[in-house]
């Protein structure tokens, strides 16, 4: 059975089991966490850093920090949430280092889901993925991160606030702008692509 097919309850019990193993000196057992969470961490880090190489470094550092601090993990939250927080901190730290966070509020034209061309729906999965990635690259790091946490990882607004350290109202504002920005970038990219094709 694949790890991804395990139910959330069982997954969290498995997490506990492997934490105990690692804490008892079985370092090889840490591979379980790497296999389980590397893709989730990578998706999060890419959304913040917009570069696969930087994201790889951030994820690697996050795994090392998690290993170092595993003893201090008290189990008050799920391991995935705790680890997610480390990944976000590490990614945001790298953004700060580059001093290139473009999360300045700009005017966004009003675009609704209906404005997304039907061509996106008609596209093949790989093409859809390409355009969605392109749009995500163009929106600010914080907005991409908020979208990722809220829609992909399915955290609530309160949980996003807890994970990122932003206030609940700030999360709501960022999410609102992120949605608008995402639709706007998506329709812009698709329109420009259409012009190139015809």
């Amino acid at each position: 059975m694949l790890i991804s097919q395990i139910s959330p309850g069982k997954k969290s019990r498995m997490d506990e089991l492997y934490i105990e193993k690692v804490l008892n000196g079985d370092i090889d057992a840490y591979k379980y966490f790497v296999r389980q969470y590397k893709d989730m961490a990578f998706t999060l880090a890419v959304s913040v850093l917009k570069s696969e190489f930087d994201a790889k470094d951030a994820v690697q550092e996050a795994f090392i920090i998690a290993f170092r601090k595993l003893k201090s993990f008290k189990g008050n939250s799920k391991f995935s949430t705790w680890f997610c927080r480390i990944v976000i901190n590490e990614a945001l730290k790298q953004v700060k280092k580059r001093e290139k966070d473009p999360c300045e509020f700009q005017d966004i034209p009003d675009v609704s889901p209906e404005d997304i061309p039907q061509s996106l729906v008609a596209m093949k999965d790989e093409q859809q993925k390409y355009f969605i990635d392109l749009a995500l690259q163009k929106i600010p790091s914080k907005e991409a991160l908020a979208l990722n946490l809220f829609y992909l990882e399915e955290y609530s607004v309160e949980e996003v606030s807890d994970l990122t350290g932003w206030s609940v109202s700030n999360v709501k504002v960022i999410l609102y702008r992120a949605r608008k920005n995402m639709y706007c970038e998506l329709s812009k990219t698709l329109r420009s692509e259409k012009k190139l094709l015809y």
Binding site: F42, V59, I64, R68, L120, L152, R179
Partner: protein, 113 residues
């Protein structure tokens, strides 16, 4: 309701942005670093144990250095100059204990913070 429709639509769109780690050697590279980290942790623990051992040896030697000669020289004529040296030694010993004990306790019990 529009917001729900919008949320579902966006969720469907974003589900396609889920990524897989494209670097094949990521897991191996990371595990090498983790094993190094494990070795480092073990060597830190070993060093802390050794530090405690030498601290206790130093403590016992210091107390012996101060107390044994003072017992032998209690009746000596130049007792006053000897007492001055002894008090300097005592102050030095106390300072060393304070400085190193604090560091040792911090590294032994609070190093994760």
């Amino acid at each position: 309701m529009e917001p729900v429709y919008e949320d579902i639509k966006l969720q469907n769109i974003l589900s396609k942005s889920r990524k897989e780690m494209p670097f094949r050697d990521f897991e191996d590279e990371l595990m090498i670093e983790i094993f190094k980290e494990g070795d480092r942790k073990r060597s830190v623990l070993k060093n802390i144990k050794l530090s405690w051992l030498f601290f206790i040896i130093g403590l016992i030697s210091g107390i012996a250095l101060i107390s044994v000669p003072s017992l032998l020289n209690e009746t000596a004529a130049d007792f006053t100059s000897y007492a001055a040296i002894l008090s300097i030694l005592m102050i030095a010993l106390c300072l060393i204990i304070l400085l190193f004990a604090e560091k040792l306790i911090r590294f032994s019990f609070f190093r994760d913070r």
